[in-house]
Amino acid sequence: MEDARIVDLYLLRDESAIRQTAEKYGGRLRALSFGMVKDWQTAEECENDTYTQAWNAIPPHEPREYFYPFLARITRHISLNCCRDRSRLKRRAYLCELSEEMEQCLPAPGDTESLLEGLALAEAINTFLGTLNEGKRNIFLRRYWYLDSVPDIAQRFGMSHSSVKTTLLRLRRQLRAYLEKEGYTL
């Protein structure tokens, strides 16, 4: 079923919307979550929580044209929280690793307040991503949005591990330079 029609079902408060969503995107959302939590049962819980949150969010939101990214964003948020909250998943270390990588993009240490003017930061990241070619942008997003491992990214794009790492390193430096240029310094 077309995304717009599924969203219409949500707007009509028709519970078949969830079934339609699960049929169309359930597998992708579960896989997205599994990539982060590395546990199928938890991934399934995150998938189901995604439907609940989507049900609560539509309306007021009407993501007709970005339905999958809308759902994926919810799944990502829930899955990240799961990683933090459930130490048994042993994913905290992986999150720390990724966080440390992102830390390298920050222009100055200890500048949480000025940096995290969330919206402006998101704008800056979006603008930065817009300056990249599609290939590099996708590599960056696979790592820091989908939280893929380096080997997974290498396999996906047919690159060597070292090439992926080098690309990510350069992109982090570019982002850092970009944020500095945009005034994100002490």
Binding site: Y66, S99, T112, G118, N138, F157, M159
Partner: protein, 297 residues
């Protein structure tokens, strides 16, 4: 913690980028591709030496000249390149391509990524009926109904609707891109707009080459709220005050019900409430919507 916050802020990346990154890579650098490409060339040479049937089979598709000359049609969509914006002539009106940008990789066109995700429909909207086929593809301005101006090969069936004459759809049957409906829009519908006192103001999604809307944290002096936006459908030109055909903002959230602000002394702009979202909540802001058309043709 700071890095983790940045990781969280990544959640607000443009949905178009997120979806694009989830698609199977179309331009992989897999080594086998080189060998596959070489093998394909050898096969083509052998086929050419064996007879004329291959050349005849190529003529089935109304392949555009430019695509044939640069070899794009044989290699797939990712090698197509053109800075020509595709446009289709239907009943004497030009309709502009809003479809995937992959056909024009290398064109360096702002907003191209957005187009990739925002369109590429797999279903035809209700009310659309077959109009005819794309009769030919040219790099010159289209001169006949059913002719497509483009820098790549294309074929497909055109669908029109009396109820929404500002948009036509084409079911692509081209070898490199098929089973999708591409939306073409009239110049009037080239950017989503909102209607206020007989004028159209550009809002939300940018047109092909139009700049992004200016976003302000504070409303300029003299502007006051006049009501809320009402979405009438993306293929419909708004007629009444405060109607819009803009579907959603950059976060995928609906424009329906957004507050609109105007200043009677400044008809050049109207402002629309445009909250920005992040993990800590949201901040109000405003889009500056410039005058798109003072009068319709």
């Amino acid at each position: 913690m700071r890095g983790e916050d940045l990781l969280e802020a990544m959640a607000l990346v443009d949905p178009a980028y997120i979806a694009a990154a989830d698609e199977a890579p179309s331009v992989g650098k897999r080594r086998w591709r080189k060998w596959a490409g070489a093998a394909a060339c050898l096969c083509l040479l052998a086929a050419g030496a064996l007879g004329f049937w291959y050349a005849e089979s190529r003529e089935i598709l109304p392949v555009g000249d430019a695509a044939s000359e640069d070899g794009a049609a044989a290699d797939g969509c990712d090698s197509l390149s053109s800075d020509i914006r595709p446009a289709l002539l239907v009943d004497g009106t030009l309709f502009y391509w809003t479809g995937p940008a992959m056909a024009i990789v290398g064109a360096d066109i702002p907003g191209a990524m957005v187009s990739t995700i925002a369109t590429g429909d797999t279903c035809l909207p209700e009310g659309y009926k077959p109009y005819g086929e794309i009769i030919s593809v040219t790099t010159d301005p289209a001169a006949k109904d059913g002719e497509l101006t483009a820098g790549f090969s294309a074929s497909g069936t055109i669908y029109t609707s009396e109820a929404t004459p500002e948009a036509v759809y084409v079911r692509m049957t081209t070898d490199w891109f098929t089973h999708h409906y591409i939306r073409f829009v009239s110049a009037q519908l080239d950017s989503s707009c909102l209607r206020w006192q007989g004028r159209d103001y550009r809002i939300g999604q940018s047109a092909w080459n139009s700049p992004a809307l200016l976003w302000l944290e504070e409303l300029p002096e003299g502007y006051a709220a006049v009501g809320q936006l009402h979405y009438v459908g993306r293929d419909i030109l708004p007629e009444e005050d405060l109607e819009t055909n803009g579907t959603s903002d950059g976060y995928g959230y609906s424009l329906e019900g957004r507050e609109v602000y105007v200043n009677p002394d400044d008809p050049e702009y109207v402002y629309v409430l445009a909250p920005r979202y992040w993990r800590g909540g949201q901040t109000d802001g405003y889009w500056q919507c410039p005058l798109w058309a003072a009068e319709r043709e």
